[in-house]
Symmetry: C2
Subunit: 116 residues, 2 copies
Amino acid sequence: MGNESSDLLRGTLTTLVLSLLASKRLYGYEIAKEIRERTDGLLHLKEGSLYPALHAMERAGLLNAEWVETRQGPKRKYYLLTRKGRSVLAERASSWRQFRDAVDRIVTTQPEGGTA
Amino acid sequence: MGNESSDLLRGTLTTLVLSLLASKRLYGYEIAKEIRERTDGLLHLKEGSLYPALHAMERAGLLNAEWVETRQGPKRKYYLLTRKGRSVLAERASSWRQFRDAVDRIVTTQPEGGTA
DNA sequence: TGGCACTATATAGGCAGTCTAGGCAATGCG
DNA sequence: CGCATTGCCTAGACTGCCTATATAGTGCCA
């Protein structure tokens, strides 16, 4: 029945990215690393998911991008929230909490019961 | 960018159904209703999602089904957890909590910041 | 009698977001 | 030189939830 953690991630990835970018500008590779580290490896979005998502968010006017040369290594594409991105983040974060609480209302309840 | 609440649901639907069936046997239509009511309409899985999901879970050995005639109206197909279903529920519920906490570690943090 | 709403299950086909798998380029290290 | 790491990117596959539709029995009301 598919990859569970990918499916859980679905619909949350955008919210996660927006949340990280709320406090400081980050580049793609860094976003992936942050999420991995801040969740002890539990969440790790693949680059094949992240970059297209970033592009979509940019197209949707949620992010602005800016290329930055580095002294060493490849150049980085930094992203930061637009005003619209900030307001979408607020909505998204709110729906996440509602969704989370709704699920908890059903899942966290664990009464004893018989087995078939 | 698609239907957000559907995407959030993705990967959780199975867990929700298993959770409900942990306490008592239910039929499909009833499951949908319960979830809608217990979450004040916030979560409502469509029949086109629910029935195929139930079939898949049955095929996977998580549920047993049993047809029951009713005095009035169409007959109902009641589902109840198998032993395997119960153990999968335990795993699923656990990953849900881990996922939930991981997301909260990133999303719930909302520092002030400038806008682009 | 016809029409509608509700209960109840079911399926086919579509959509979209994540993944797999690959490519490109620069740096540093053994 | 080969390899790991950083860093970005894309095409195509996968898959689970969706829309839309079908079937069928019941009850209600005009």
